[in-house]
Symmetry: C3
Amino acid sequence: MQSSSEKSPLKPALGMLKSPSLAELGDLGESMHAMATKLYPLCRSITGEGLRETLRMIGERIPLEYTNIPSGTQAFDWTLPKEWTIREAWIKDPTGKKVIDFKDFNLHVVGYSTPIHTQLSLSDLRPHLHSIPDQPDWIPYRNSFYKEAWGFCLSQNHLDSLEEGQYEICIDSDLHDGHLSYAECFLPGSSSEEVLISTHVCHPSLANDNLSGIVVATELARHLASIDHRLSYRFLFIPSIIGSIAWLWKNENKLSNIHHGLTLALLGDSGFSNYKRSRRGNAAIDIAVEHVLKHSGQNYEIRDFAPWGYDERQYCSPGFNLPVGCFTRTPNGCFPEYHTSGDNLDFIKAEALADSLQKCMDVFKILEGNQSYVNTSPKGEPRLGHRVAYKGFTGKGGLARDDFSLLWVLNQSDGTKSLLDIAERAAYPFAAIRDAANALEACGLLKLKEEV
Amino acid sequence: MQSSSEKSPLKPALGMLKSPSLAELGDLGESMHAMATKLYPLCRSITGEGLRETLRMIGERIPLEYTNIPSGTQAFDWTLPKEWTIREAWIKDPTGKKVIDFKDFNLHVVGYSTPIHTQLSLSDLRPHLHSIPDQPDWIPYRNSFYKEAWGFCLSQNHLDSLEEGQYEICIDSDLHDGHLSYAECFLPGSSSEEVLISTHVCHPSLANDNLSGIVVATELARHLASIDHRLSYRFLFIPSIIGSIAWLWKNENKLSNIHHGLTLALLGDSGFSNYKRSRRGNAAIDIAVEHVLKHSGQNYEIRDFAPWGYDERQYCSPGFNLPVGCFTRTPNGCFPEYHTSGDNLDFIKAEALADSLQKCMDVFKILEGNQSYVNTSPKGEPRLGHRVAYKGFTGKGGLARDDFSLLWVLNQSDGTKSLLDIAERAAYPFAAIRDAANALEACGLLKLKEEV
Amino acid sequence: MQSSSEKSPLKPALGMLKSPSLAELGDLGESMHAMATKLYPLCRSITGEGLRETLRMIGERIPLEYTNIPSGTQAFDWTLPKEWTIREAWIKDPTGKKVIDFKDFNLHVVGYSTPIHTQLSLSDLRPHLHSIPDQPDWIPYRNSFYKEAWGFCLSQNHLDSLEEGQYEICIDSDLHDGHLSYAECFLPGSSSEEVLISTHVCHPSLANDNLSGIVVATELARHLASIDHRLSYRFLFIPSIIGSIAWLWKNENKLSNIHHGLTLALLGDSGFSNYKRSRRGNAAIDIAVEHVLKHSGQNYEIRDFAPWGYDERQYCSPGFNLPVGCFTRTPNGCFPEYHTSGDNLDFIKAEALADSLQKCMDVFKILEGNQSYVNTSPKGEPRLGHRVAYKGFTGKGGLARDDFSLLWVLNQSDGTKSLLDIAERAAYPFAAIRDAANALEACGLLKLKEEV
């Protein structure tokens, strides 16, 4: 039996985990978009100063713990990379005019470009210039993390306008031993069961991928930090792939606490919500997110797990197999602006960010409230009228849903089914089942399974 | 191994559980309708003389054991109610003319009305008058079992015709300590496995709900009493909710005998048959009823369990979880006449009653015959031609269904599958599979699983 | 851990089990049709010289072991039949002209006809004459294996042309103690796990049923005998029903070696491929054949097991329950030419034979390669770029299928899933998953489950 001090935070938390009002949501959406606007110009990569500055700005809004692991450290199968510093990068045309300048836009330089200062003819330069022929106005986003190389990105139209001749190329960068940096925000609840929320922070001026994930995760953490909650929440702000691998490596002994998890990304576009199931496929997080989307009244899509996407790939690798799904709007690679300059601040909408945030809160509400109960009067239906608000049968037709919810919870609470199982069985919103369970628990007809 | 004395009743019973002929069915339908006609005028409620008189009339046709439990007895979470006696109930209009009289029609008084004799203006009387505005010709059926109150029911047209003025109201009733009454008919078979058939007997002049259930259950019991059967059958005639709870409370130590069960109600309307699965969802009774309906050649509907309906709610409460489904035609609340004076003797049809009865008999035939066998010659197919009527392959096309049934039973009888499982697997009517098993058992190629 | 000598044959076999080229397939189809043409005139039955001559001709192409079991031997529920010899059989019309002669066409005599030499009027003869009224040009195929009888088969048109009068009937046959004969071709692999391929050899001049099965099985065995393979293959050429029962009876102690099996028949018609699942329904052979058909780009049909068809009925009897399915084109009884003279050499096509052969080879390739592996670097994704051909994420869109295959194999290889499971999960052709596993095994990221 849990002590009452452990139990007491549950009710306020459930009460406080209310959906924000429309007006509050509007404000939240604007404030998340404003935060994205501030983060947009920074040149993030999987290491380096832009990444650290981003983590510092997140830390202005929520309590963060920073971790820096030296380059060269071995983490499972990986060696942590050198740190990349980029100071300037430009190309001057034959007339000496700067035609591309990293200062103008940080997608112009290929991530992890090695330093160079030289002169090249346009034809020798061309292999180092990346564009998107069928999207001639947009500048692509390119990296070369694990193979030393240099290059520039520009629009196809821009490339086409370059004249033949001798160009001066300068990339003032270096790759040196430094650190891999990430940050986490841990919000302990009354239970040691953890919800892991992971979002990648390694992309330069791209708004949906993944400033949208960063600002929604930050706002979720800020919200949860202000209220009581039963579960513990751990938010990770990490560089993609290497960051989650490094975190898993450093925290392997704590992974058994993780009962649920989501990677968050691509949460600001106008498309509808999309959930990719965890490798397990039927974890509570999978059922909870699908429940929220099903009852949202909006279009949505559910996909089965595949070993591609964001850091759920690492959390769901066979050595860990954590119950972590991926929550996005339009998935990676499925919108034309993906990994181009078209993924800018106009592409993400305050309303979409707010809607994504609300759905995450709705999922958390389910995880918070999803407990298993035992009917304390399981032989026949107990009399309800004198105990709870139960209208019962008043003459014609069926029951009101609130009455039905009470009956469903009583009928199904044999200790083998969680409230989410019951909500799914009854095809009711989780909140209706949770409310019924609260009423029945209050009058003694229901007990938490662990208390029996 | 069963002794042959235990086994011998099986064959005659299976033989005798034949579908009635069309002419017999016609007679049965008429006789059930006639019994409903005799029961219709009685003022039944969850206790009292009308209920007991109903049980006595059922007892004229089948052997019944009567139980009376004192008011005030605690049965699980419930206290058995006081007994209600109603002698007269009327309203006189300002001219002294009786405008409503319980003697005319027993739905006119709200069930469990407390006594009153007073004068009231029409406007003070109105809160005690119940009608159905959108069905202006019908009188509703109302009760107040667990909250002391009084009232009258009348048609909306009748209500609209009442003039302003002072009315005299008289309800000569009382609520006193008495008994909760129910009756049961137990028909022992060669096996102690029981089939529970439960029908509620607490509604006044309503024909489909539930005289139809009463007369079909009575006729089923009369039929089974006249033939051999393997299983034991227990028919309960009980007031709804409180009756099944009281019975469960008194018989808790015998519940493990119940292997199958049905609540019967709403069996006389012109709609098609409807089965609501037990809470288990895949009990033999669930598969058997669905099998019968699927092979009936008629429309039908199968619904999953929900904790609402008739007494299956009590049998399927988590403390018992008995395999009891609910067999009806159009379900409760799904036809406009439900719980109104429109549910009268014209609303139920002799053919529908007969059809419902036949389907129940078909279900019993499956339960009787649904045993598990073991092929005694399981290595390769045994030679059939010299042992059973097996035409075999005669040149072209496939096999006759009778041959196929023999092969299916031999192939699947490894002790893990019942004959109903095999019928479902082969998509054949149960009778074809049962006949094949009989033939194979007769020639020694099949043995009852328990005999192996 | 397997020794490397046991393992080494795997790779060459997988390499050599390549699909034949189109030209090779064309040659194979023609050569199989030519073999069918040579076998067509022989008068096969479930015993006798025609059957043995057929086995001898198969033995000219592949190594065969012959078994002869004396008539009268008891095998499970069956007594092995007498041997039937037919020398001549004819009918002379009233003018003394032979109007039917077994020498012209062996379907003319009912199989296992007893000897007779007599004179009969046409009306007395008629009960012994079999025709197909609604297919007036075709001669039916009839037998009387287990009931002594004699008869002739002829076309309806032929029958209609016979004049009234006295006919002379001669059947010079005998039923004597001899042997039941069958042959098998065993091709041992590095593993003792066996694939059983069974085809019936007891039909006279019928091409699809089952010269098609005989020639495809023969050619498969010839092919496998020429290459390395991991699994052992056992090809049975047996008379239908009694042959498989006799084989099972003689080999009962070796059946545990059989891990997969197919009966082959009806492989030459122009219809599409059809697979009937084993009694288990989800054996590896069931999944493998369905995988091949699904990825063939052609129409196909999958049927659930039913205890009718070819010798899979015996292998799948409950006492054995071997994982043996049945691979055909249009199933038995589903084409009008079935068991008539219409099932002749024109009815089977070289292309269809070649296509059936190729699909069997594709199934064998899956069975050969379907092993379970364990990811040796299961914590997070291992780095791939420096180990295998892995393009990775190059900017836009998804991954190439080869990359995805590597990720699927790594993600799913936790020891509980075979490569075929993974191919099904990823919805990729098995070959892509097998190739990925080879690459990962070569660089040490994957180990056979048994080696871990």
